[in-house]
């Protein structure tokens, strides 16, 4: 029986290699351990809150987070009052009112986070024809996940000798094609963290990547917790089933 099992394992390895083999020619990603990685990983709440601050103050100018509502921020550890305050800072379009007009009002926790541009065409027009993608699931939408986002944000630099940059692009070692329309968004001390942490580019990149990882998969912790319980239960159940099977088949063996 070992041969078919070995083949199954080979099959699994080949399948894994198949998915991995599609990389374009970019610099290898900077890898690091992420707090939410691994079977028992959980989010680092402080980093999530700092990351949200980075998103709000830097990224939100161009990048929407359209699948998140303010009430979801309970997941990064904000209290009800803090969420109301954050929501109220934003302006949301509501209506029509009794005169049939749309109007603006401060945000409420139940509102989705408003988009910086009314539509894709407006977004492209404001960004040299490039469309800043929505960030709600960006971490799941890119190979390398957190490592990709983090490498990208810290991967800006001078183009190597002989490389000609197209107009309106910036050199980034980790972007497919190395020419990205987005200018480097993070700069040293660009954000003054509410908790006093020093805002280096690396720190901000780490924090906003963690935040975006949470935004993409807010149920991650519940999922892993449930997973531990289910796997333990199934180990017990399968063990019991095996014992019963042996007992039932004993008179035949």
């Amino acid at each position: 029986m070992r041969k078919p099992l070995m083949l199954l394992a080979a099959g699994a390895l080949i399948a894994y290699a198949a998915t991995a083999a599609q990389a374009a020619e970019q610099s290898p990603l900077k890898t690091r351990d992420w707090p939410q990685g691994g079977p028992f990983g959980t989010f680092e709440r402080d980093s999530l809150q700092r990351g949200f601050q980075v998103y709000k103050e830097v990224c939100a100018a161009c990048h929407s987070l359209e699948y998140l509502a303010y009430r979801h921020l309970e997941g990064i550890g904000l209290s009800e009052e803090e969420i109301e305050a954050v929501a109220a800072e934003a302006t949301v379009i509501d209506g029509p009112n009794e005169d049939g007009e749309m109007f603006e009002r401060p945000g409420k926790p139940s509102d989705r986070m408003p988009k910086p541009f009314p539509n894709d065409a407006a977004a492209k027009a404001a960004n040299n024809g490039a469309l800043p993608p929505d960030l709600s699931v960006i971490v799941k939408a890119r190979k390398g996940h957190e490592d990709y986002i983090n490498s990208l944000l810290t991967g800006y630099g001078e183009p190597p000798a002989g490389v000609e940059m197209r107009e309106g692009t910036n050199y980034n070692a980790h972007y497919p094609g190395q020419q990205i329309a987005m200018p480097p968004p993070l700069s040293e001390g660009g954000v003054t963290y509410a908790d006093g942490t020093e805002a280096t580019v690396e720190q901000m990149s780490y924090d906003v990547t963690n935040f975006l990882a949470w935004a993409a998969e807010p149920t991650l912790e519940a999922r892993k917790r449930m997973g531990v319980k289910v796997v333990l239960f199934l180990l017990l159940f399968t063990g019991l089933a095996y014992a019963v099977k042996r007992k039932v088949w004993a008179d035949l063996h």
């Binding site: 939408a141 807010p218 999922r223 997973g227 063996h253």
Partner: protein, 421 residues
């Protein structure tokens, strides 16, 4: 053991009007199954359970999903974020589909190894292939529903294949699309059919089981059941063994579901569909990769399509291609070797399906495609004619006893021969 023989008046009343209790007894309890089935025989019942899982999770998802191009992607995010346990339902359904194919492929390859497709089980085998085809159609359409980049472009590529049909091809594609490209009408009809087809599968599974129960299961030795000494009642022997197998499979399912729920998917499907931007690599789900490889290895569009479908349709004539009178590869040394080459070939095709069809990948893909079809024609018929099979045991019971009952003490075997047939 039989329930329906009980004195319970309620049971008797129902039984007289609809013999459901005797039916359950005859097919699930007292049903005779060969006593030598190994764990490779668990995957049929595992597949059946997964079909139920897919239907239940699917119906639940349908309560929250919006089948409109402008809202589909957002509705899936709504399910993931706001619906109670929505993330669990979604991941169960997406990963359940993959595991359903794992179970069915192992089930099929078991059948190939032990000759389960041979007389008198040809119709049973055909129903199985029909189920596979229905599963492929169902999962193809299901993958379109989240309306991600892969959903959209996978749908575009595969529906475009039908334009290869001479004369009527373009019209058929327009008819399939309900428009001039994959768009909202396509999404809506795929949703309708995706909901329908699993129930068609249930019907064919019923036929599959009916055919199975008519002639009873094959077994690893490939020799017929001669009498009750060769079988055991399905309950408790195989109910408990199937439960055990299910537990182990559920363990695998849970590890993937809870700890790597996106490992079998494509990152590009987390990008909303954009008809004006084609992804760098359009890749179908892993269970379609071998067929995709066959399709792309042939430079002619129509012949490529014919080869792709042909790779499955050839299975229908397998019972006649295999000319050997011996069923099980256990006793067919040449076939056994060729079988493993075939398995490796399928895995290679799967790998190639995920690569860009250029250079070494294209060459290997073409060789692998050739090997795939050569296995069926002419290798299989030739092996059947010229192979010298090993001698078969006289009966299942004898073979089981000779092995000492499959790993038990030899004394038990001696004691058994007094107690059994």
């Amino acid at each position: 053991m039989a329930l329906f023989q009980g004195s319970n008046p309620v049971v008797k009343w129902i039984e007289y009007r609809l013999p459901i209790f005797s039916f359950i007894d005859a097919h699930l309890i007292d049903y005779p199954a060969p006593k030598n089935l190994n764990y490779w025989y668990n995957f049929g019942s595992i597949a059946g359970v997964l079909l139920v899982v897919q239907i239940v999770t699917g119906v639940v998802l349908a309560m929250h999903y919006t089948p409109h191009a402008d809202f589909a992607f957002a509705s899936v995010e709504h399910i993931m974020r706001d619906v109670n346990y929505g993330w669990l339902m979604r991941y169960m359904h997406a990963n359940g589909a993959s595991l359903f194919f794992v179970a069915v492929y192992i089930h099929i390859f078991r059948g190939l190894y032990y000759g389960s497709y041979k007389s008198p089980r040809e119709v049973l085998w055909w129903f199985g292939i029909i189920i596979l085809l229905l599963m492929m159609a169902t999962s193809f359409m299901g993958y379109v529903l989240p309306w991600g980049q892969m959903s959209f472009w996978g749908a575009t590529v595969i529906t475009n294949l039908f334009s290869a049909i001479p004369w009527v091809g373009e019209s058929i594609v327009t008819w399939l699309w309900g428009g001039f490209a994959v768009d909202n009408p396509t999404l809506n009809r795929f949703y309708s059919l995706h909901y329908l087809l699993p129930f068609v599968i249930v019907g064919v599974v019923f036929l599959h089981l009916w055919a199975l129960h008519h002639r009873k299961s094959n077994n690893p030795l490939g020799i017929d059941i001669k009498g009750p000494q060769d079988t055991v009642p399905f309950h408790p022997y195989y109910t408990i063994k199937d439960t055990l197998g299910l537990g182990a499979f559920a363990l695998l399912f849970s590890v993937i579901l809870f700890f790597a729920p996106n490992a079998l998917g494509e990152v590009d499907n987390y990008i909303k569909a954009d008809p004006l931007v084609t992804p760098a690599h359009i890749v179908p789900e892993w269970y379609f990769l071998p067929y995709y490889a066959i399709l792309r290895s042939i430079p002619h569009k129509l012949i490529g399509v014919i080869a792709m479908f042909g790779s499955i349709f050839v299975l229908f004539i397998l019972p006649w291609l295999d000319t050997s009178r011996v069923r099980s590869a256990t006793f067919r040394p040449v076939y056994k070797m060729v079988y493993w080459i075939f398995v490796i070939d399928c895995l290679v095709l799967g790998y190639i399906g995920a690569q860009v069809p250029e250079g070494i990948f294209l060459i290997v893909g073409r060789i692998a495609t050739a090997i795939y079809f050569l296995f069926f024609i002419p290798v299989l018929p030739l092996i059947g004619w010229f192979e010298r099979p090993r001698p078969l045991p006289t009966s299942i019971a004898e073979a089981v006893l000779a092995k000492g009952g499959g790993g038990g003490a030899p004394e038990a075997a001696a004691a058994q021969s007094e107690g059994r047939g």
